[in-house]
């Protein structure tokens, strides 16, 4: 039901927007009780473990933290490279 009127009237720039964005990140870390640095090294270890078993496209790996109600969700999108080429060779 969004019209151009809604877009015009509900534009929210400035400091409230900044507050919301900053809070989003802060709350994710508070709830998980994990620092940004730890989160980064966890991601790297996940990639490392999976790489031991399958070939993955490291550049396309996406691991992010999503908020789902009061729960945080670690969402990993890890594309696995097909082995079919190597088999036929």
């Amino acid at each position: 039901m969004s019209s151009w009127v809604d877009k015009l009237t509900s534009r929210k720039p400035k400091s409230a927007e900044a507050a919301k964005e900053r809070l989003k990140l802060v709350l994710i870390h508070d709830r998980m009780d994990i620092t940004q640095v730890e989160l980064e090294s966890m991601k790297n270890e996940i990639i490392e473990v999976i790489s031991r078993y399958v070939v993955i496209d490291q550049d396309a790996v996406r691991i992010s933290m999503n908020q789902d109600g009061r729960e945080n969700r670690l969402v990993a999108d890890i594309p696995i490279r097909s082995k079919s080429h190597s088999r036929t060779r």
Binding site: S3, V5, D6, T9, S10, R11, K12, P13, K14, S15, A16, E17, A19, K20, R22, L23, K24, V26, L27, D30, R31, Q67, G69, R70
Partner: protein, 267 residues
């Protein structure tokens, strides 16, 4: 009769817990309910001055718990209301004088004769907070639309869940509609999205709160004050009434009308 025990807490100090507790207590009592409010902030007694009952204190919460007086003797009756009582906090003791099980026992005794027991929690996440929620059937979290208050509210909501007292409900206090319109204050939907809990009240920033607190007359007694109306709406929601949210209504009402008008070319 079995009272409902509701604890008002926040994490961060200075967001309006005590003002909220006092006003909800007066509003519920004004609706004909039997209400007792308990100041859980031992060592930093304040609910008495906000209610204007500071000159009538003889015994306090710790006196009851340590058996120096009967429960009834520590209940100060607010004469403005038919059935409103205050159990003040001790001023010369600290939180360790009370345990969570003391609070449960005290509230069980009060439940028999009351409709509502409101507990004003101290700020923080330690002993005082745990005492305050021990007996709670429901927990109301007061917060302001500011980063520090919202962050602390989130922490406290998590702790309330961990203690199996959740889900908590939010009272968003001191909303300044001018700042919100300018884009310089978090709006109600922003805070609800961040905290992901149910809303039970929006209280606008209102100078009448300061004026009425100066006099020891809770702002709900002033039927013209916006904050007073907001507090009495919360009290009605606590009693199960379906009361529309004032601020959001004003705004969506205006916006809806405006956009409908422009979409249909006027009506």
């Amino acid at each position: 009769m079995s009272a409902s025990v509701s604890t008002i807490t926040s994490g961060k100090g200075g967001v309006g817990k005590t003002t909220t507790t006092a006003n909800l207590a007066v509003a519920l009592a004004g609706m004909g309910k039997k209400v007792v409010c308990i100041d859980g902030d031992i060592g930093l007694r304040n609910l008495d001055v906000v209610l204007g009952l500071e000159n009538r204190i003889v015994y306090d919460l710790v006196d009851v718990i340590e058996g120096r007086c009967r429960l009834r003797q520590a209940m100060i009756r607010d004469k403005r209301m038919p059935e409103l009582y205050l159990i003040p906090a001790a001023q010369t003791r600290d939180k360790s004088a009370v345990s969570p099980s003391d609070m449960v026992r005290l509230c069980d005794e009060l439940r028999e004769e009351m409709d509502w027991i409101l507990i004003d929690s101290p700020a923080g996440i330690e002993r005082g907070f745990r005492n305050a929620i021990a007996a709670a059937d429901s927990v109301l979290v007061v917060t302001n639309p500011e980063v520090s208050a919202v962050r602390d509210a989130d922490r406290i909501i998590g702790l309330i869940e961990a203690e199996e007292k959740g889900p908590a409900k939010i009272i968003l206090n001191r909303v300044n509609q001018n700042l919100v319109k300018r884009g310089d204050m978090l709006d109600v939907p922003d805070v609800l999205e961040l905290l992901a809990v149910e809303l039970i009240g929006i209280v606008p920033e209102d100078e009448a709160v300061t004026v009425s607190t100066n006099r020891g007359q809770p702002v709900v007694l002033d039927s013209h004050s916006k904050a007073g109306i907001a507090f009495s709406n919360i009290a009605r929601r606590m009693n199960g009434e379906d009361v529309p949210f004032v601020n959001m209504d004003d705004k969506s009402g205006l916006f809806d009308r405006l956009s409908r008008m422009l979409r249909t070319g006027g009506d």
